[in-house]
Symmetry: C2
Subunit: 201 residues, 2 copies
DNA sequence: GTCTATATATCGATAGAC
DNA sequence: GTCTATCGATATATAGAC
């Protein structure tokens, strides 16, 4: 069965996605023009509308993909664990995946963390729902660790947000040619998350 | 000696500052128009130019004030300590001030954390320098604690950024009518920072 | 699917009357 | 210091030729 027309991915459409992601993440959605995006693909602005209905549709396409990739990255990390793995192993896997994504896929991370406000109201609601689900998946790990007594924390919601946001911040300063590789940065944040949850052997 | 003309603060200019801060923080600099800012002050866009040379000058005025307030807030907290206070007390004071600012002055915090890219190159450089100085003031506390042996950490730079960014994230979710008051949130983050630096008695 | 040309809207900023 | 009127640039998006 062939793909539905709306899901066909032409080479040009992918070039547009790449160019738009780069510009939206670097300069912001409002400061990026269709002309500039088209120029970096090597076509004219009007031709963009053969691939996307509007500028906002490009942003939504990129946002949905980024949030989907973020969740898939988390799922892949958790799936590698022993099914009987406890909260501490699950927390480490989550943080490692979270930080790795925010280091290695900075543009997607920055888009999700700073450009949701430019989405249409309808798309914005859907993005917020996806973000809440992602946050809740960490919250569930935290709560499980509290229940088993492996985690000793003061406030589950603050702890959840603190772990998430310190990892999100990696997308602001990480550079591929920096002092630490992304896996090293991930390992550092795994340690921090363990300390926050009193995982100090 | 009277104030220099450039520092005169008229009531109207302050209303403009307040309206622009609200809009820049809420919708972003590029999505905010001079017409909208003027309308929320009750005047026309052209009249704004009697108080500020350009839209970017408003942003710079607000940015400089916000970063100055942030540093002053930190200095006030540290100044209340006993001069002989050690790194752990200094860290707690810094985090408490940092989180308190990001909770209680959300608009200023969001501006500094998301709109620096809209500044002119010259102003952008100055803002980055101020941000670096702020980060370095926390880094110095961390380093001092490592030197005395009170802090046991894995990577000083990662630790510094993690503490800063988890506190910065408070400006994203804090609500004055939420479950926790800003001082309670600050106390939670002081605990988290202590744990990260192995301050678990 | 690309292009040129253009419609329509809004932007920051200025000129000049009051 | 406010206003009306407007300039010039740029924005998204569309129409229609090729």
């Amino acid at each position: 069965m062939p793909q539905a027309p709306s899901q066909v991915r032409s080479a040009t459409a992918d070039e547009i996605r790449q160019a738009a992601l780069q510009q939206f993440a670097q300069s912001g959605y409002d400061a990026s023009s269709m002309r500039d995006i088209a120029a970096s693909v090597g076509i004219k602005a009007a031709s963009l509308y053969n691939h996307f209905d509007s500028k906002e549709k490009i942003l939504w396409d990129l946002t949905r993909s980024a949030m989907s990739d973020l969740a898939a990255n988390r799922d892949a990390a958790l799936a590698q664990l022993d099914p009987a793995a406890g909260p501490r192993a699950r927390l480490a896997a989550f943080v490692s995946a979270h930080v790795g994504f925010h280091a290695e896929r900075r543009h997607q991370a920055v888009l999700v963390n700073s450009q949701l406000g430019s989405l249409s109201p309808s798309h914005h609601r859907k993005a917020i729902a996806l973000r809440d689900a992602y946050e809740n998946s960490l919250r569930a790990i935290i709560d499980a660790g509290v229940t088993t007594g492996e985690f000793v924390i003061s406030d589950a919601q603050v702890t959840t947000l603190a772990i998430l946001q310190m990892g999100t911040g990696v997308s602001v300063w990480f550079r591929p040619d920096g002092r630490l590789r992304s896996d090293q940065v991930g390992a550092e944040y795994v340690k921090l998350a363990a300390l926050i949850t009193r995982g100090i052997a």
